[in-house]
């Protein structure tokens, strides 16, 4: 288990660093986050799901408060 933790943490840290470098390079070379969000929303309807979860949460808060 200990060696497992070691390996997993090393892999995760390396992957996060690599991802951060990619994001940094993209941001420096002119990436537009609004455009990216629009593309993802167009493809997966992220905004709709987000809106749905917000409504569910508000409903739960109202029910629990009553």
């Amino acid at each position: 288990m200990k060696s497992g933790w070691k390996i997993i943490l090393i892999v995760v840290v390396i992957a996060i660093l690599l991802g951060a470098i990619c994001i940094g390079v993209g941001a420096m070379t002119g990436a537009d986050f609004a455009r990216i969000w629009a593309t993802l929303d167009n493809r997966y309807h992220v905004g709709m799901y987000y809106q749905y979860f917000i409504e569910v949460r508000n409903t739960l808060v109202t029910v629990l408060a009553a």
């Binding site: 288990m1 497992g4 933790w5 997993i8 943490l9 892999v11 995760v12 992957a15 996060i16 690599l18 991802g19 951060a20 470098i21 990619c22 994001i23 940094g24 390079v25 993209g26 941001a27 070379t29 002119g30 990436a31 537009d32 986050f33 455009r35 990216i36 593309t39 993802l40 167009n42 493809r43 997966y44």
Partner: protein, 368 residues
């Protein structure tokens, strides 16, 4: 003449060949050249002994001798010595200066002197047969040995080559029970060997540290030696390690785990609900980890798919790829966390409860 602490069964079924074969097998830590030298010296002792059984009793066991040699043998230092003394020299140790003899040879010559002191060798017949090389081994002994001891060896005819500072050092003092310097050095050496032996036993013919083995069994009580016995037998009165004639299982004290029934029932009644509560408490973070792992991995895969399908600009693609890698990394982390909760924490809790129950509710009872 049986040394204290030695069971008669340990020496009954051994002879010179077996002793030397076993000793040779135990001396593999030595360089081959040194091993052959040591075996040759032991073989010579057997040849010179008046009675083989007496010598075997004196030597106790191959294991004991291996430990004596192991204690006196420093492989690193020996390697340096061998390199220093040009290995081409075939003259053996005859030409080696007195102060440069390897410690293991000195240890064997100490044994030979003890054997001589106990009358195991026939002095008149033996001494002329000992070759020159072997006599040079005794040259290390202190020069200030009592003068009267030489009387013993002046009786020996045809031994003009024997150095005056050699073998003739210890006999009368041991017999008289006085505290001579040589006697002190012998007893110190014996104590050191005993202390070393206390940490070892033999299993399947190999030296094994007792810490890695079952506890050593109690030996037969040995009556405290009288002064006369001490003078006659300077062999240490510490239990000898088990030889191949007696398997370790026979000597291990038989114990049995016996349940304290009332405590066990009480423990089960408490441990089961507590265990279920603990498992339930651990299931919350476990399932949360699983949900997060599924969420992150799914998001990572979706973003990665989108990167190759919906983006045409390189900068946007790089950001999306970076995001996908980060999400997948987090997914991997939470997946591992889930596995750790299942396989480590929950299983550990159950094992811990079982172990605690075994510790509290069982006791070791010796079986007679």
């Amino acid at each position: 003449m049986l040394p204290p602490g030695l069971h008669p069964m340990e020496v009954k079924a051994i002879n010179k060949q077996k002793f030397l074969a076993e000793l040779g097998r135990l001396l593999t830590f030595m360089y081959e050249e040194d091993r052959q030298t040591a075996l040759a010296m032991y073989s010579k002792m057997f040849d010179d002994a008046a009675e083989e059984q007496l010598l075997l009793q004196f030597l106790v066991s191959p294991t004991r001798q291996a430990v004596v040699l192991a204690r006196a043998y420093d492989a690193k230092e020996r390697k340096l010595q061998v390199h220093t003394q040009s290995r081409d020299d075939d003259a053996g140790y005859a030409d080696v200066p007195e102060g440069e003899l390897p410690p293991f040879i000195l240890a064997i010559s100490d044994l030979q002197q003890e054997a001589i002191a106990q009358g195991i060798f026939e002095a008149v017949e033996v001494l002329p047969e000992v070759d020159e090389n072997q006599f040079s081994l005794f040259d290390e002994f202190p020069q200030d040995a009592p003068v009267e001891q030489e009387a013993v060896w002046t009786e020996v005819p045809d031994a003009p080559d024997v150095p005056q500072n050699g073998i003739d050092v210890q006999e009368p003092d041991i017999a008289d029970g006085e505290d001579a310097p040589v006697s002190d050095s012998v007893s110190e050496f014996a104590d050191a060997v005993d202390a070393f032996l206390a940490d070892f036993a033999i299993a399947d013919g190999e030296l094994v540290s007792k810490s890695a083995e079952a506890p050593a069994p109690a030996e037969e009580p040995v009556p405290p030696p009288t002064e006369t016995e001490e003078a006659e037998e300077p062999v240490p009165a510490v239990p000898a390690p088990v030889t191949e004639q007696e398997p370790a299982e026979e000597q291990a004290p038989a114990t049995q785990r016996k349940a304290k029934v009332f405590l066990l029932i009480l423990y089960i009644l408490c441990a089961i609900p507590l265990g279920i509560l603990g498992i339930a408490a651990l299931l919350v973070p476990t399932l949360l980890s699983l949900a997060l792992a599924i969420g992150f991995v799914s998001a990572g895969v979706l973003v990665l798919t989108a990167a190759f399908g919906g983006f045409a600009i390189f900068a946007d693609l790089m950001v999306i790829l970076g995001l996908a890698i980060v999400l997948l990394a987090l997914g991997l982390l939470f997946t591992w966390l889930f596995i750790w909760f299942i396989g480590g924490a929950i299983v550990g809790l159950i094992r811990g409860l079982c172990h605690l129950g075994g510790k509290w509710c069982y006791k070791e009872v010796s079986v007679q």
